[in-house]
């Protein structure tokens, strides 16, 4: 018993085991700085759902002739859109929208992509079509993807979901 007491007293008098936090915090901070600098942050992306047709060896005939929407990017950054054989618009993003730009040739007006949706809706109604009828986007091979997606977004705006992407040469 006496021996135990003396040992216990010796233990208490000696230094207690210490966890040295300072180097650990240093390392953790270094890691934090490293990951902050090396991380590649990306804004949260949205998605426009699309449905591709099944790949068929032989082309399937559609029940109804789709409304064709031709898209061609212009050198000035706008997109020339022809809805069926009826109307042609120069469509521009709101940031590059400029009313002073002359609309050449047989182009109706200079509009933005939001207005394009409404114009398509007008043509659909005038042709006696419904929003469930197919619409075919016909870009050229040089049309910017940005213009294709914005037009697709304009079709979603008017609840038009039956959209086909044309394959071009």
């Amino acid at each position: 018993m006496k021996l135990y007491r003396s040992l216990f007293a010796k233990y208490r008098s000696s230094r207690l085991m210490q966890l040295r936090m300072v180097p650990m915090i240093d390392v953790v901070f270094l890691l934090l700085v490293f990951f902050l600098l090396s991380a590649n942050f990306r804004s949260q992306e949205g998605f426009l759902p699309a449905e591709l047709p099944q790949y068929l060896e032989q082309a399937q005939r559609l029940e109804m002739e789709p409304l064709l929407i031709y898209l061609a990017s212009q050198p000035d950054g706008s997109c020339r859109v022809q809805i069926g054989s009826e109307r042609v618009f120069d469509v521009s993003s709101p940031t590059t929208f400029n009313q002073d730009d002359p609309a050449g040739g047989s182009v109706d007006t200079l509009i933005d992509f939001q207005q394009l949706g409404r114009e398509i809706q007008t043509v659909i109604a005038s042709q006696g079509r419904t929003i469930s009828d197919p619409v075919k986007l016909v870009p050229t091979s040089r049309t910017k993807w940005d213009h294709v997606v914005k037009t697709y977004n304009a079709l979603w705006q008017i609840n038009l979901r039956n959209v086909i992407f044309a394959m071009v040469d």
Partner: protein
């Protein structure tokens, strides 16, 4: 005799917790995992998806198993003058149309991409594809990715786009 008792006292000091080897091991583990997990970073290709698409849906719980197909401009090196070149990627597998195998046979590129997509899609019952294409890419280029998807009999596709206009360009 006095000397001996001093030595016993010194030896009986309680053990200390040495953090240094632990930090070394932790560092090694971090480096190991960083190298192993590089394929996740590689999917995050530098490209600007179309913006200002108000109808793009930002999912609350993104589908972790979605297969990302990217179409993006080839990074221009200092010694290169070629511009407007495109690269394709199915997850982290990259496809370069400038590769000698594809240069004379464009269909082989689509076939290879399609094979890779099919391989990835086989792991899922209802595969979902996130198509991330740079906004300045031409439709002719993105069409190759669409063709590869169609050949893989993929129907569920999402077109990546930002809901609002991107200010941090």
């Amino acid at each position: 005799m006095k000397k001996k008792s001093h030595s016993i006292l010194r030896d009986s000091q309680p053990p200390q917790f040495n953090m240094t080897p632990m930090i070394d091991v932790v560092f090694l583990l971090i480096i190991f995992f960083m190298l192993i997990c590089q394929f996740i970073v590689q999917e995050n290709y530098k490209l600007e998806i179309p913006d200002d698409c108000a109808h793009a849906i930002v999912p609350d719980h993104p589908d972790e198993g979605a297969i990302t197909v990217s179409v993006y401009p080839k990074p221009v090196q200092d010694d290169e003058t070629a511009q407007n070149e495109v690269l394709f990627a199915v997850r982290s597998y990259r496809f370069d149309p400038a590769d000698p195998r594809y240069r004379h046979d464009g269909d082989l590129l689509i076939a290879d991409m399609s094979r890779q997509i099919t391989e990835q899609a086989q792991r899922k019952s209802d595969p979902l594809i996130n198509l991330r294409a740079d906004k300045d890419m031409t439709y002719g280029n993105v069409q190759k990715a669409l063709l590869a998807l169609a050949r893989s009999k993929i129907t569920r596709v999402q077109l990546a786009a930002y809901r609002s206009e991107q200010m941090d360009k």
